[in-house]
Structures are given as C-alpha cells and as structure tokens.
C-alpha cells in the first residue's frame, strides 16, 4: 500500500510540472504582465519589470525563472491590489475549502441515498421523480439554481410571512462580526451548498443507481437472496459495498469539475474564495495571481485524484496489485 502511494505521488510530480509549463505559456501569451504598469506611463518602471521578469528572454528561460521563485515561495505581488500573491491565495483558499468540503460531503450523502433508493425502488414514483429532478439538475447551470434558491427560500418566505429576517442567508459565510461553527454559519451555508451540489448530485445519482443495479443483479447477490439473507442486509452489506468503489472514483474525479460551479456560486453568494479571486484577477488581467492560482488548483486536483486512487485501492484490492 505504501509503495502504491509513493509511486502515485512521484508520478504526479512530472505531470504537475508539465501542466505548470503549459499554463505558464498560455497565460503569458494571453496577458501582458505589464499592462497595468504601462498605463502609469513611467518608462523606467516598465524597463525594470521587463528585466526582473526576463520578458526579453525565451519563454523557456522565463518559465524557469518563474519556477524558481515559485518553488521558494516568492509568488510575487498582485498588480491589482499590490498585496503579496501568496497572501491573497491563502486568504481565498479557506472559504473555498469550506464550501467545497460541505458541498462534496452533502452531495455524496444525498447522491448515495438517492442512488440506493432509486435502485431499490426501481420504477416507482419516487424513482421517476428523482430521476426527473436529476435531468433538471443536469440541464440548468449553477447560477440559475443559485438565484432561484435565493428567491424561493430566502426572499419569498421573508416577504410572505413578514419575518424580521430571511430564514436562510445568502451573503458570505458569516454575518458581520460572527465567526466559528454556529447556527449563523449553517444558515449561511445551506443555499450556496445546495446550488453547488445540485449538478453533482444529479450526475452521481444517475451513475450510482446504475452501479447499484449492476451490483444487485450480480451472481453473488442472487446467491445471497436464494440463501434467504434479509433484504436489508443484501442492500447495504453487499450491493452498496460493491458499488462503492466506482462511485468513489467518480466522486473524486468530479471534484475537479466542482471548480466551475464554485466560481459561479461564490460570485452570487458573495463568498470571498478562490472563484472570486480568479474572476477579479482575470478581469484586471492580473497575471501574477492567475498563474499561481491555476497551479494551486491543479495541485489540489492532483491530491483529490490521489485520494481517489487510494480510496479505490482500499475498496478494491485488485487495483493494488496492478
């Protein structure tokens, strides 16, 4: 097991390096790192920056120059705010991690339950409604859900019932002056997490349902049923357990896809996370933030993949032997 993990980690490193070069090249070709500086009309400053960033050298040299400072923790300064990039990304990571964590957790639980229910009660009204909802979830973009959720669950109840406050909040993760894990936090989380996870639950539950059906129609389950093992045991102990492996893999890999939903959700719910940082930097052409941002996200995805592989290996011993 240990060697498995080490092998996977070592394998990830060259992938990240190549990815970083591709990103570096893409970003440098698209954006002019000196755009903001040029507007200030200070020719010496422009020349200084060209020297510092090595913009007059080949792209490969520039890359290594950048890589060296990146690895030593010098991520430069944002051209938009003047703050250190490391600080900006660090501050933005925490809210995003919270949102992603809760989003994934709830999505996995809900998708899992929905899958089991749908598979067990196949063709029932419940199954049909849920699958119908899944299609809706796949068809509509996250911002559509976000706004509808806000209107339906926060604004309308307050106005309709004349409440002093909306039942659920939708700005940021805490009310001003509050912190920590409390009711206020939960009331802030419900709507953004819901908006985020709808598409995920929709896809995963379709998939999980199929995996469950597969498992339930397999030989050993039929044998167990013939032997008279109680239905509940069959469902949970056998079918679910065996559909868990592919389910976990899918979940972990879709985590990478989560990012698109995160950007939009953070925008609507005013959460100061990585998504917002990306948008602000993109609009301002702030190359100095964009590049480290992408690397950080790529590394996060690699970690997720790694966890997925480990999880898969734990659940399915055959994989370890490959």
């Amino acid at each position: 097991m240990f060697t498995f993990i080490i092998r996977r980690v070592l394998y990830s490193i060259p992938v990240i390096l190549v990815a970083s070069f591709v990103l570096f090249w893409a970003v440098r070709s698209t954006f002019d790192p000196l755009a903001k500086l040029r507007q200030a009309q200070d020719p010496t400053a422009v020349a200084r920056e060209i020297e510092r960033l090595g913009l007059d050298r080949s792209i490969l040299e520039q890359y290594f120059l950048w890589l060296r400072s990146f690895v030593t923790g010098d991520w430069g300064t944002s051209s938009r705010t003047g703050s250190p990039v490391l600080q900006l990304i660090g501050e933005a990571l925490w809210p995003t991690i919270q949102l992603a964590f809760w989003g994934l957790l709830v999505a996995v639980i809900v998708a899992g339950l929905v899958s089991v229910y749908s598979a067990v009660r196949r063709y029932s009204l419940g199954d049909n409604l849920l699958t119908g909802a899944a299609y809706l979830g796949i068809a509509m973009p996250a911002f559509w859900f976000g706004l509808i959720l806000i209107q339906t669950f926060a604004v309308w109840p307050k106005q309709q019932f004349g409440l002093a406050e909306p039942p659920l909040y939708f700005i940021g993760l805490h009310s001003p002056g509050q912190d920590g894990f409390d009711l206020d936090y939960i009331r802030h989380l419900v709507l953004p997490v819901a908006a985020l996870m709808i598409a995920l639950v929709a896809t995963w539950s379709r998939f999980g349902r199929a995996a469950m059906l597969d498992a339930m129609s397999s030989d050993y389950v039929r044998t167990a049923r013939a032997k008279g093992v109680p239905r509940r045991q069959i469902i949970w102990r056998h079918a679910v357990r065996n559909s868990l492996a592919p389910f976990v893999t899918v979940v972990a890999l879709d985590a990478a896809v989560l990012i698109g939903g995160l950007v939009v959700t953070e925008q609507i719910f005013a959460i100061p996370g990585m998504g917002r940082l990306f948008l602000d930097s993109l609009v301002a052409g702030d190359v100095f933030v964009l590049l480290p941002w992408m690397i950080v996200v790529a590394i996060a995805v690699v970690i997720c993949n790694l966890l997925a592989d480990i999880g898969y290996a734990l659940l399915d011993p055959r994989v370890r032997l490959r």
Binding site: V27, A139, A210, I259, V264, L282, N305
Partner: protein, 300 residues
Amino acid sequence: MSGAGLAGSEELLAEQDVQQGSGRQLLQRFLKHRLALTSLIVLLLLMIVCFGADWVAPYPQGQQDLLLGPTPPSAEHLLGTDELGRDFLSEILYAGRISLAIGLFVALLSTLVGTTLGALAGYLGGWVGELLMRITDLFLIVPAIALLAVIVQGLGPSPVTIVFALTALGWTYIARVVRAQVLSLREKDFIDAARGIGASNLRIIIAHLLPNLAGVLAVGMSLAVASAIIAESTLSFLGFGVQSPQTSWGSMLSQAAGYVGTPQVYLLYFPGLFILVTVLAVNFIGDGLRDALDPQGKHL
C-alpha cells in the same frame, strides 16, 4: 462541465457485454422506444425552427420597438418581448442557432477527436497509450473554467473560439472511455480471429471495434451536448461567452439573471426552458440509442 471526469465508468462500461446486432435490428429496437423517438422528433423540430429561423420566425431578427420595451406574452408576441421590444420567440429561435450549433459541434468534434485518440491509444497500447493517458491527465488537472476563460480571452470571444475551447477540454473524457473499452475488447476472441485471418489493424479498428463503442459513444455525446450548452451559458454569465450583438440561449440566460423577482422573469425562464427541452431530448435519445445497442440494459 459536469460529468466529464467519470473515469471510473470506464471500468464499468468496459465490463458490459455488448450484443452485436445488424443495422436493421438496431433501428427496430430504437424505434420501439417511443420516448426516444419523440425526443428525436422534438430535437429535429428544434433544429429546423432554429436553423431555419429566417423562414420560421414570426418577426425578423432584431426588429426593435423602443417604446414597447419588455412585455409579457401576448397574442402578438407569443413569448413576449425583450428589453429592446424585439419579439422574444424570434430572438430565441435565432439564438438557438448558435446554441445548438455550439452544442452539436462540440459534441461531434470532441467525440471525433476523443474516439480517434482513445481507440489508437487502447489498440496500440504501449508507450503511445501511456502518453495519451498522461496528456488526458494533464487536461483533467488544469481547472477547466480557468483554461476556458484564458483561451476565450486570448482568441477573442466568438462562437468559433468557444467551440474550439470546449472541444479542447471535452475530448479527454471520451478518449478515456473509448480507450478502456478498446482495451477490454482487444483481448476478445473475435478480434483474435480477425487478426488470425490477416486483417490489418486499421480494418480491425474500423470494422470491429468502433461498432462496439457505439453505446458508449451515444452516452458520451449526449452528455457532451448538455455540458457544452451549460458551459457556454456559464461562460456568458461570467462575461466570456457569446458577445452581443450575437446571442445564444446561454447568454440570454445570463443577461436575464437580474430579473429574478420582477415581472420580466419570463426573460429568464423561456431560454431556460428551451435549454431544458434540448438537453432532455438529447438525453432521451442517448438512452434510446444505448438501449437499442445494448438491450440488456444494465446501465443508467
């Protein structure tokens, strides 16, 4: 782009027993699925009215009535009018041209590229296969939305660049799935038999492998169409999608986002409805195709 990273499904799909059927048998099975058939008709209808909007739309494109402004659905304007007083139904049909085109082209192109590369990687194996897998890993790692935004920013936001950007990110899923399928098929008897009688690699790929991929491809393509339409609308919401004066359903959605809670909210719902119907239709067709090609129906 939800659903693009279902690598675990490769294993699952690779284990399925694919039934070979003759062309006519496939058609018969498909036609038995009334819902898939209906969806096909609906989709064709949508494509006709949208691509033929010049003839079908009740009003010419872009005919404004400044003083009218946005009005709710009425007898003259079946879906109401938009901010410029243009007939909303006509605008939706014209926008549909771009949305459907983007969705279908992305699905087609990414399937094409993905199938080719995936089949090659799976069949040839060895270092070619490994290299391809590493490249797809690369694409999976890079945050999709970021790369999309950067590409569109760099090349300029037009439907063509959007198709290019979405294809560049979309082919990886199909490639992985195809490769896994090909890997499992490679060892099967009928392939050995074909090799035994001296069939060339290319012939094996085209005549024997590809037909067996059809089920997988059907699912992949339908997912790809949905993802493409949604990705385009998300890009528009963030400001990087189709730019005015061109419109797509996605950009209409994003432009109308601010009308939630106002009487003009229909500006948000109608494009959404069209997207929904398209995605549903495509998914049902995909279901039908998959059932026709794999009547044991173990999946989804």
